[in-house]
């Protein structure tokens, strides 16, 4: 596999014309022929649902698979804040160029210029499309669309539907796909999980799936396979992701030869509710907007156990305001997260487990009045109160960073094709647009741009080469081999009758990855993790317990299979983090920081994408690097002091 050359297929010429020129150069498939092509889409979040709907509208036969009971459960549904678009409705100087620049800079100069520029261009079409679908965006009294501002930008370009923008955009895409299901152009299979990607002569020709209700293993073939299966933050066990989010689809594709890019680029969101106790199953995000009016502090003395309201001003450390006087509480996500970790690690943590910092609204209430604070944040205050049983109007909120989004993912070219011909990756599952750090309100934008407006064009260029060729039949030995391997794997998992639960191992894996490859990383810790993780994995194989059989719904079996892939991914993350000797975006290497603790990039060496190939040993993947060329923006150092 190491002979594969990474060709990003970045179109030549000026950025602003690149996508138009590229589209013109792509091969087209005439409408009558499209129905002869079959495409498999895995996952029904923003990227998957929008791609499936659009491909079916164009005339392709589309088979869609989701492991949920209905497409609408995909985790895109939980996105709160909004979606960026360079509409410039506010007349505040926004433009495609500005959104492009903000996104490149926000990603700490580790993403591809051409991809990001296209994303900024397509942001305009997304808002039009979503509005026409009936997405109830917030509106002004005049009936026109409202915008709000978001972190990392100096313009108001975020469109939103209360605090449920992801839900509404997903419903729009789901409904567009449901229309095609009704028309018979999309065949939908729910509670069916992708377990393997099948290759023949080096290209993707189908998938092996498992029916979660009956355990039945089946093969499906197509001219192309599209993975829209989201991110892998659940490798940390505790994250803001939903319980079933996993890496299996992209990891199994990786094992079949798809390069995995920048696995160590993970985003830790600074404002989440800290874990209450060991039984905690997930972490809940509180919108970043709270930092507009809340002040972050910890007790100045680590031994100060007084309740927050009894700690006088002089004994408090408003550390963000102290260290970053220019931006104060509004520093970017990665900076705020690391500062909180430093405080907690130094013993200043608050709460009974000393695992959080205060986010205090006392001053805001005194300054603006309780009513104004209620108007801005009441739904968040209520959610916090419901979860913690504490009243944030009376006592400060306790917050702590939590894994939230993964910028890394399958390596894709400008056409969103992975290193396996015929296999595509969209949305959070690919690595393409956010570099080392994603800006708020950009994930929804990318998922929908990929699904509605990029893949439907670029896939034609590939399948056009197979006109008059049927998909490889599932009777082909390649499918039989993959099915047999899966059967063996499932039997192996079901034979695990040890003395610990699968969740217990997942918690342990999560702690290791969090400690060694979380908000800050160092050589020693990463080496320790790479050495320790294979042992932990062996222990899991030996000592975990998977009850039940494989012929009916078995949720523990599902978890165990996904956890296996998380183990291997964790090793790749640590290897990647160890390799990248610099600090950038969400990747903070303690060896590479200023005396004040700020990130130091190494642009000479690491203005690259690290694309890792499977070798059979997850701790020793082989590396190819894609150089990143910055011809339109100048590489600068971010400073928030």
């Amino acid at each position: 596999m190491s002979t594969v050359r990474l060709d990003a297929k970045t179109p030549p010429g000026p950025l602003a014309e690149a996508w138009d020129n590229h589209r013109f150069s792509l091969k087209l498939v005439n409408p009558a022929n499209k129905r002869h092509f079959k495409i498999i889409v895995i996952g029904t979040g923003l990227a998957g649902a929008s791609a499936a709907a659009t491909l079916a509208e164009l005339g392709y036969q589309v088979d869609v698979f989701t492991f949920h009971d209905t497409p609408r459960r995909a985790h895109s549904i939980a996105a709160q804040g909004g979606i960026n678009a360079a509409k410039n409705y506010r007349n505040d100087g926004d433009s495609v160029d500005r959104l492009f620049y903000d996104t490149i800079k926000g990603g700490d100069f580790r993403s591809r210029e051409a991809n990001v520029y296209r994303l900024a261009q397509l942001s305009l079409n997304i808002i039009d499309q979503a509005t026409a679908q009936g997405v109830p965006f917030a509106r002004e009294y005049g009936g026109l669309l409202d915008n709000r501002s978001f972190g990392g930008a100096q313009v108001a370009r975020t469109f939103y539907s209360r605090g449920q923008t992801g839900q509404q955009l997903l419903l729009g895409a789901y409904q567009a796909m449901a229309r095609q299901v009704g028309l018979g152009t999309v065949r939908l299979r729910v509670r069916t999980e992708l377990m393997d990607v099948v290759l023949k002569e080096g290209r993707a020709v189908g998938v092996v799936v498992r029916d979660l209700l009956t355990g039945e293993i089946a093969s499906h073939s197509a001219h192309a396979v599209v993975l829209c299966t989201g991110g892998y933050s659940n490798v940390y066990y505790l994250s803001t992701n939903a319980m079933t989010c996993n890496t299996t689809a992209i990891w199994r594709a990786h094992r079949r030869g798809a390069a995995f890019a920048n696995p160590c680029f993970t985003q830790i969101h600074p404002t989440c509710i800290p874990a209450a106790e060991d039984f905690q199953s997930k972490l809940t995000l509180m919108s970043e907007s709270l930092r507009n009016d809340g002040r972050v502090w910890v007790p100045a003395s680590p031994d100060d156990d007084r309740p927050p309201r009894q700690i006088p001003e002089d004994d408090r450390d408003y550390y963000l305001e102290r260290v970053y006087p220019a931006f104060g509480n509004l520093v970017p996500r990665d900076v705020a997260s690391r500062a909180a970790k430093r405080m907690v690690d130094a013993g200043h943590g608050v709460g009974s487990r000393k695992n959080g910092v205060y986010l205090d609204f006392q001053d805001a209430i005194a300054r603006l009045g309780r009513q104004a604070v209620t108007a801005r944040y009441d739904n968040l205050m209520e959610m916090y109160n419901r979860i913690t049983d504490e009243d944030p109007y009376q006592v400060p909120m306790r917050i702590y960073p939590a894994p939230h989004y993964t910028m890394g993912g399958l390596w894709v070219d400008y056409n969103l094709m992975t290193t396996i011909p015929g296999l595509y990756a969209l949305g959070e599952a690919n690595f393409s647009d956010h570099g080392a750090n994603r800006l708020g309100a950009s994930a929804l934008m990318q998922g929908l741009a990929d699904g509605y407006f990029v893949l439907p064009y670029t896939i034609g260029d590939y399948v056009a080469g197979f006109l008059n060729e049927s998909p490889v039949p599932t009777s082909d030995p390649a499918f039989a081999r993959a099915e047999a391997q899966l059967q063996e794997r499932i039997s192996g998992l079901l034979s695990m009758k040890g003395g610990r639960t699968v969740d217990d191992f997942h918690r342990q894996l999560g702690r290791v990855v969090w400690d060694e490859c979380g908000m800050s990383r160092n050589e020693e810790g990463l080496d320790r993790a790479v050495a320790h993780l294979p042992d932990l994995y062996e222990e899991f194989r030996r000592d975990a317990r998977v009850p039940g059989d494989g012929e009916s719904l078995n949720q523990t079996l599902e978890k165990a299979a996904r956890l296996e892939d998380f183990f291997e991914l964790a090793m790749a993350m640590c290897v990647d983090a160890r390799h990248r000797e610099e600090s950038c975006g969400g990747h903070f290497r303690e060896e590479h920081q200023t005396p004040q603790g700020e990130a130091v990039r190494n642009d000479e060496r690491f203005t690259t994408v690290s694309a890792w190939f499977w070798t059979g040993d997850p701790t020793r993947p082989s590396l190819q690097e894609e150089p990143l060329a910055f011809e339109n923006v100048e590489l600068t150092t971010r400073s928030y002091k």
């Binding site: 929008s50 709907a53 659009t54 949920h68 009971d69 209905t70 609408r72 459960r73 985790h75 549904i77 939980a78 409705y89 079409n125 039009d128 499309q129 979503a130 509005t131 026409a132 679908q133 009936g134 109830p136 509106r139 009936g143 026109l144 669309l145 449920q164 839900q167 509404q168 789901y174 409904q175 567009a176 449901a178 229309r179 009704g182 939908l188 729910v190 209700l213 939903a242 319980m243 209450a276 106790e277 039984f279 905690q280 199953s281 997930k282 809940t284 419901r386 913690t388 049983d389 407006f453 439907p456 639960t501 217990d504 317990r545 009850p547 039940g548 009916s552 719904l553 949720q555 523990t556």
Partner: protein, 250 residues
């Protein structure tokens, strides 16, 4: 805290099923209800028993995957709260809690507390969309939508598709789900062109699976998003108009 849990156990759709009783001890009141089930499930696994199957995903009350009958109430005792957002502090130490799957003829029990809600997808596929192929949309601000209209449409669109409305309805009617989806789209000018054909198709599909509305109001009380039954009236009116307007194309 300690509780006694009476949980519905059923190996598969054709299995008879029945309640099993479990003592669950040393719980924290800060636990969510589903975390209590997690704790019990880990214990059952280590005791060599099969864990209780239940659906859950985001655990933030937005994906709609979770939902069980708790002491005879859909999503439990707290109003406007999905099961995943219900915490053990809503119960007393020593309580006996009965947990049962959603029940309706259209919601077949798959295993334990997991049911099949795919009939909801059939209703959406019948008409719960606005026909606008990708790329054909006009500029978003071309059609102003009064703020109040957009807000009301959102109130309906907030539906998470959990099925509590059907579970709570003594008739197993899906009027609130269907009305929420239809009203969300019918209220907006973008959805106006298909208003009547949408309502007709969605209602006709709904009635293939579910019972009829007798205006008990249980659905509204059970809805974690507090969607109003006014939307049901709106759908009924649109349905009558659809039938009156249709020019023999039935």
């Amino acid at each position: 805290m300690n509780i006694t849990l009476r949980a519905w156990r059923q190996a598969g759709p054709s299995d008879e099923g029945g309640f099993e009783t479990y003592q669950v001890s040393d719980l924290s009141s800060d636990m969510s209800f589903l975390e209590m089930l997690d704790v019990l499930n880990e214990r059952l696994t280590l005791e060599g028993l099969e864990p209780i199957a239940f659906d859950s995903d985001c655990r933030e009350g937005i994906c709609g995957a979770c939902g069980v009958m708790i002491n005879g109430r859909a999503h439990g005792p707290q109003a406007a709260t999905a099961t995943c957002q219900l915490h053990m502090r809503s119960f007393q130490d020593g309580d006996t809690i009965t947990v049962e799957p959603w029940r309706a003829a259209a919601f077949e029990v798959i295993r334990d507390l997991v049911v099949d809600r795919s009939a909801f997808d059939r209703i959406v596929e019948a008409g719960g969309f606005i026909t606008v192929a990708t790329g054909s949309a006009p500029e978003a601000n071309l059609t102003p939508v009064p703020k109040e209209t957009a807000e009301t449409a959102f109130d309906a669109a907030a539906c998470i598709g959990c099925g509590a409305c059907v579970a709570a309805c003594p008739n197993s009617a899906a009027q609130l789900f269907t009305a929420a989806k239809a009203s969300h789209l019918n209220l907006l000018p973008q959805g106006g062109a298909e208003r009547y054909v949408r309502t007709e198709r969605m209602v006709d599909t709904m009635e293939r699976f579910f019972g009829s509305c007798t205006n008990h109001g249980e659905c509204e009380a059970a809805c974690p998003k507090q969607i109003s039954i006014d939307f049901i009236a709106m759908m009924n009116r649109d349905y009558v108009k659809a039938k009156v307007n249709s020019r023999g194309n039935a």
